[in-house]
């Protein structure tokens, strides 16, 4: 009974931190709080640490593959000149 309630309180606190970070323009704090919240949900609600090794591998594989898409996929855009979007939308239906 104790653990899930603690987790919920922790998550609400982290949510408050995120909102404050946004209002006070402290961008890095939101970046920091979000992964912590995800880890709390994964550990305390989904009990990923108590799952069998196979199921943990399934979970981690998804994360690794997202990393491939995000890194190799955005490398192209980061490595070339990007033209700004026009203000007026010309000739589009």
């Amino acid at each position: 009974m104790i653990h899930p309630v603690l987790a919920w309180i922790l998550l609400m606190l982290l949510l408050a931190v995120e909102v404050l970070a946004a209002l006070l323009h402290v961008g890095w704090l939101a970046w920091a709080a979000a992964p912590v919240m995800i880890v709390v949900v994964a550990l305390m609600f989904m009990h990923v640490a108590q799952e069998s090794p196979l199921r943990r591998i399934f979970a981690i594989t998804g994360l690794v593959w997202i990393a491939i898409l995000l890194s190799l996929g955005s490398a192209d855009f980061a490595a070339r000149h990007n033209y700004p979007a026009p203000q007026q939308v010309i000739g589009v239906r």
Partner: protein
């Protein structure tokens, strides 16, 4: 040991257990679902081939002999969409995989049989919707749906077509989940990972790509439809979007998809070559880990489809290097097959002819991939017939040959009948000859600069085009021939025994065809895979 059974009465099996339409359409038996898929896949194969036949007929004349330019565009789109998503991506896993994998593992069914049936219904639903789009006017975008043609300029039924493909994608994902979980959880006692036949390993590798790649295609198609319907701008450069974003998303799935298509073929060829050389697979662990590493590395190379599309040159260099890396495990497998053949007791039955054809044709296709993985030569060769020939050598010369190899190898197990091997060899020879006549001239055409997806061409290319079209006629005859002798075998073929090829593997330790529950008693495995007796021992040669 005679190959045919003298039993007069029809033994009970999954085929005759119950024969109502309902029992077939609502069966959760993996063997019956495999046959449902066989019928569907065959129909799609002939439909896609018809598209190709019309294309090749059109290309006999430089001005286009048969159809208008718009009509030609719709034909190559139909050919590509049907062949990629409704034939090659499912082919071996959903037919041979569904049927043989549980038998090979010593299991009574897959882990999630009802999910398996749902898989088939998703496939059929998606297929029918896409067929509706293709025939109700068609599409001229090519199977690659590049923006902005597909989002802004084409008149075809893009949204309808991608809805069908989207739905069939879920069929892939559910099949992949089913196979991976089955291989982990339902192996027979004693069947450790390194005792698994390579076909099982290759289905595992294929399923990894099904599960991790297809969802990205799903999102890509959603964004494509969103853009097409609402013109919001995400792929439209006039508004600040980037057509290359579509290409990155599309190829992130579609490059691994080509490995979905070929990996099961690798598995089939490993089974057939070992059985018909009566020799253990040379370098089993190398073959296993080559398959798994192909599944991983395949996700790192997609940018090689976009070398001239406008992506960053630094990105292109990285993708080129990684594309060379992915060739290595495939080459390792080819050497291992050759090592298996070496000093084996080789039998040239039809499955072996198809498998040997695979090794040669896949190698040519793979080697030509090296030219186009290099940035400099790709600038000349991209979007020409060189590319078309490259992937057809792998997909048709390779994968379709492997599919036929597996079909002929496991036909006795699936149907309980033997087919005429003489006709099988004839068909294999016609296919091999027809295939090379069709596609080798296309390498030449590409080298000389003829672009792909063109309905007409300058007259100096005509000779090669006519050769290619002539080859297509022969190839068509070759592909039609098995329809006859295989159908004939269902009616009049001699009954098959449990193990007509005297091959290793648990699937050969039950009746042909198997009973619904696969095995009377689940076997316990004590040996490794491919434990054929050594080549020059008295027990080695197979009778017949």
């Amino acid at each position: 040991m005679s190959r045919t059974s003298t039993v007069e009465d029809l033994p009970p099996s999954y085929l005759n257990k119950e024969n109502t339409l309902f029992s077939w359409l609502c069966s959760t038996d993996h063997k019956r679902i495999a046959l449902l898929y066989f019928g569907s896949i065959t129909a799609f194969f002939f439909l896609g081939s018809a598209g190709a036949a019309l294309m090749r007929l059109n290309l006999i004349s430089p001005a286009g002999a048969l159809v208008s330019h718009e009509g030609y565009n719709r034909l190559f789109t139909l050919h590509g969409v049907v062949m990629v998503w409704f034939f090659l991506v499912p082919a071996v896993p959903v037919t041979l995989g569904n049927f043989i994998l549980p038998l090979m593992l010593g299991a009574r069914d897959l882990a999630f049989p009802r999910l398996n049936l749902l898989s088939w219904y998703l496939f059929i639903t998606g297929g029918l919707i896409t067929l509706w789009a293709l025939f109700w006017g068609g599409l001229n975008t090519g199977w690659t749906f590049y923006t902005p043609l597909s989002t802004n300029y084409t008149n075809g039924h893009v949204v309808l077509a991608v809805v069908g493909i989207f739905i069939s994608g879920f069929s892939s994902i559910t099949t992949g989940v089913n196979f991976i979980v089955t291989i982990h959880r339902l192996r027979a006692p004693g069947l450790t990972w390194y005792r698994l036949p390579v076909f099982a390993w290759s289905l595992y590798a294929t399923s990894v790509i099904y599960v991790l790649g297809t969802p990205v295609l799903a999102m890509t198609l959603i964004l494509l439809a969103f853009e097409r319907i609402f013109h919001v701008g995400v792929f439209d450069s006039r508004i600040g979007g980037d057509p290359l974003l579509f290409q990155h998303l599309f190829w992130f799935y579609s490059h691994p998809a080509v490995y979905i298509m070929i990996l099961p073929g690798f598995g089939v060829v490993s089974e057939v070559i070992t059985a018909f050389s009566r020799k253990a697979l040379f370098g089993y662990k190398f073959v296993v880990w080559a398959s798994m590493s192909i599944a991983v590395i395949s996700f790192l190379v997609w940018g090689h489809h976009m070398f001239v599309a406008g992506q960053s040159i630094y990105s292109a260099i990285v993708f080129s290097l990684l594309s060379y890396l992915v060739a290595v495990p495939s080459a390792i497998k080819v050497f291992n097959w050759l090592g298996t053949l070496h000093k084996g007791h080789i039998q040239f039955e039809a499955p072996m002819l198809y498998a040997l054809g695979f090794v040669g044709l896949f190698t040519i296709g793979g080697l030509t991939g090296l030219f186009i993985a290099a940035l400099g030569t790709d600038v000349h060769l991209t979007q020409t017939y060189f590319i078309v020939a490259h992937f057809h050598y792998i997909m048709v010369g390779g994968m379709v040959s492997a599919f036929f190899a597996g079909l002929h190898y496991w036909w006795p197990k699936i149907t309980g009948r033997m087919y005429s091997d003489a006709w099988g060899r004839v068909a294999a020879a016609i296919i091999f000859f027809g295939f090379n006549l069709t596609f080798f001239p296309q390498f030449v055409l590409g080298y000389y600069g003829m672009p792909r997806r063109y309905a007409s061409y300058p007259p100096e290319y005509q000779v090669w085009n006519v050769l290619s079209s002539a080859g297509a006629v022969i190839l068509a005859i070759g592909y039609l021939t098995p329809l006859f002798y295989l159908s004939y075998s269902l009616l009049r073929g001699t009954r098959a025994t449990e193990n007509p090829w005297e091959a290793t593997g648990l699937e050969w330790k039950t009746s042909s065809p198997p009973q619904t529950e696969n095995f009377r008693h689940i076997p316990t495995v004590v040996d490794g895979p491919y434990n054929y007796p050594p080549p020059h021992s008295p027990a080695a040669p197979r009778h017949g």
